[in-house]
């Protein structure tokens, strides 16, 4: 079973996000790392291939300036190959364009299964993977917590608002995985060495048969026109707990709110 995993390479999540002052797009310069949500997707894909007994995991990413750090991290976990779509024309692409680009790249691979994170850590719109499924004409199961194979079909646990449902789906299909679905394996030393040698194809917009005016800021039909700081909450009182009475101010708050 061959699996394509969408991975996003994002700015360090510990650094507060910001919008570029003039273009009003998310700033994505600086060091990019593998989105932790997608490391979970890679892990799930590796486990499914192990369960199937044969097949490979290919990671696919759309990223600026030839960014490869995240791809190498996924390869070091055990992915066999990587595809990077990188092109200056892609800067400022909205989610739908990203889906079209990834669909074009993944269609060339013809996988049995496509895996993506339910939502990215930085943009968190959560729409791209489902758009991708529709573009690839694949049935999709989102919010997956557990996944396995039974007689060649997927059997997964899908998180709902009221509880967890068991859902089945024959291949080919697309899954989106939740952040808690699996703990990503640590790369081994041999994995890291193999990652340096693993094939990474780098594709441009033209390689995918797309025109520059279909992508990027030019092609996006949703754009930020202005941004302002939200009316913020002002910090209140800070107290240090001494191990004995630090909880008392909390009792006061509860008292004043009429909750005691």
């Amino acid at each position: 079973m061959d699996v394509a995993v969408c991975v996003k390479q994002i700015p360090d999540p510990a650094v507060p996000g910001r919008l570029d002052a003039s273009a009003l797009t998310l700033v994505r310069t600086g060091a990019l790392v593998l989105d932790a949500a997608d490391a979970v997707g890679v892990e799930l894909a590796l486990r499914l291939v192990e369960q199937a007994g044969a097949g490979t995991v290919t990671v696919v990413s759309m990223a600026p300036q030839g960014a490869m750090v995240g791809l190498r991290a996924a390869l070091a976990m055990g992915a066999a190959a990587a595809v990077l779509v990188s092109d200056d024309a892609l800067a400022g692409s909205d989610a739908l364009i990203t889906a079209k680009v990834l669909a074009a790249a993944i269609a060339r691979l013809g996988p049995d299964l496509v895996v993506a994170g339910t939502e990215s850590t930085d943009g968190y719109t959560g729409t791209m993977p489902v758009q991708l499924a529709e573009l690839l004409a694949l049935p999709s199961i989102t919010f997956v917590r557990r996944a396995g194979l039974c007689d060649g079909a997927l059997v997964v646990e899908r998180q709902g608002e009221d509880g967890v449902d068991e859902v089945t789906c024959p291949l080919p299909a697309l899954l989106t995985v939740m952040s808690g679905a699996a703990v990503p394996r640590y790369p081994t030393y041999s994995g890291i060495r193999a990652a340096r040698l693993a094939p990474v194809s780098v594709l441009s917009v033209a390689d995918l048969g797309l025109a520059a005016d279909q992508v990027g800021v030019v092609g996006s039909r949703q754009r930020v026109v202005s941004a302002r700081p939200a009316v913020g909450r002002v910090a209140g009182v800070a107290v240090a707990d001494d191990g004995a009475v630090g909880h008392l101010p909390i009792l006061e708050v509860l008292d004043r709110a009429g909750l005691l």
Partner: protein, 340 residues
């Protein structure tokens, strides 16, 4: 005054046989903004929901009917697209961010080749007739205004409790609010395996909760990973119970297995706005803040005085969350059982 929009569709999901609150919220807003409002629905109970939908301003409920055990995303999106293709198209479609509706919105977006405006907190119409939405970014610290240049229908996923029904005071809907919505079939076109491939084999339901729901609770007691390293969530549940409130957890705590996803607060999960939000061991990642920053009073307990949640809390207690929580539970218990 004239309505700013012609026709709005609101996807209203069924919640134990009744229209989901989130959908009714959006219907309430749409009534004050559009000349005509329709509800979009899937499942066997459109007739049963028609009176409530009509009372909230829907002229019609367009329903695919029973889809059996299939996941609804592809079928409902295809049915909506087909309807629009026949000339029955709205200016705006409003979705709530439930898992199924996010599926429908994404698939419809690809079918129509239009972007989804996700995480919207406001919606207005510009002088040129274009739709402008506002979105909270970076944990709610920045509000960005966005425009869709794709033209109608605009697909908007609205964050819970954002668009208020205050505008419903000037309801434009020409429908008499006492009349049930007219049930109109919304046929699913032939889409092959996409309609039926993904099937629910077994529906698990969470353990019924004790006490008020997260939406109703006056106080929410929430835990993050800082309450660890071991699972101490029963302390959170006890405090919630003693205070007549509801327990909640961050994504990290849910991922660690301390609490079910059904009480996860954050970007994915629930949005709450209680009188008091007590946060134990929560640093306040943007993903979490967006789910609770509208609480009237925030109390945060954490070892890190510079954590984002500590910076916006009305009362920040710097200390070990588990230790403070334990003492607080003892003190509240004593107040409850001691002399009044």
């Amino acid at each position: 005054m004239t309505p700013v929009l012609g026709r709005v569709w609101v996807v209203v999901q069924s919640d134990s046989g009744r229209p989901a609150t989130s959908g009714l919220e959006l219907l309430g807003w749409a009534r004050g903004a559009a000349a005509v409002v329709d509800a979009i629905h899937w499942g066997p109970d459109a007739e049963a929901m028609a009176p409530a939908l009509g009372a909230h301003g829907a002229a019609r409920v367009l329903s695919t009917g029973d889809l059996g055990d299939a996941l609804p995303g592809a079928a409902v999106a295809a049915a909506m697209a087909a309807r629009m293709g026949c000339g029955d198209a709205p200016d705006v479609v409003l979705f709530s961010p439930t898992h199924d509706q996010r599926d429908i919105a994404g698939r419809l977006s690809a079918r129509l080749d239009r972007p989804v405006l996700a995480n919207a907190v406001t919606l207005s119409v510009a002088d040129d007739g274009g739709v402008v939405t506002e979105h909270e970014l970076f944990g709610g610290t920045t509000v960005a205004s966005a425009r869709s240049t794709a033209g109608p229908p605009h697909l908007v996923v609205v964050r819970p409790r954002s668009l208020s029904a205050a505008a419903a005071a000037t309801a434009f809907s020409s429908v008499d609010a006492g009349r049930p919505a007219a049930v109109v079939p919304l046929p699913v076109p032939e889409i092959g395996r996409l309609a039926t491939a993904a099937q629910v084999r077994c529906r698990g339901r969470a353990v019924p909760r004790v006490g008020p729901s997260l939406d109703e609770a006056p106080v929410v007691v929430a835990a993050g990973r800082g309450l660890g390293p071991t699972d101490r969530f029963e302390l959170v549940e006890e405090l919630a119970r003693l205070l007549g409130g509801a327990p909640a957890a961050t994504r990290a705590a849910v991922d660690a297995g301390w609490a079910p996803f059904t009480i996860q607060v954050g970007q994915t999960g629930r949005t709450v706005a209680p009188e008091v939000y007590l946060a134990f061991g929560i640093s306040g990642a943007a993903q979490h803040l967006i789910g609770m920053k509208s609480a009237r009073t925030i109390v945060a307990v954490d070892t890190d005085p510079d954590a984002p949640l500590m910076a916006i809390a009305d009362l920040a207690v710097v200390g070990d969350a588990a230790s403070v929580l334990t003492r607080l539970v003892d003190a509240v218990r004593a107040r409850r059982t001691g002399p009044q």
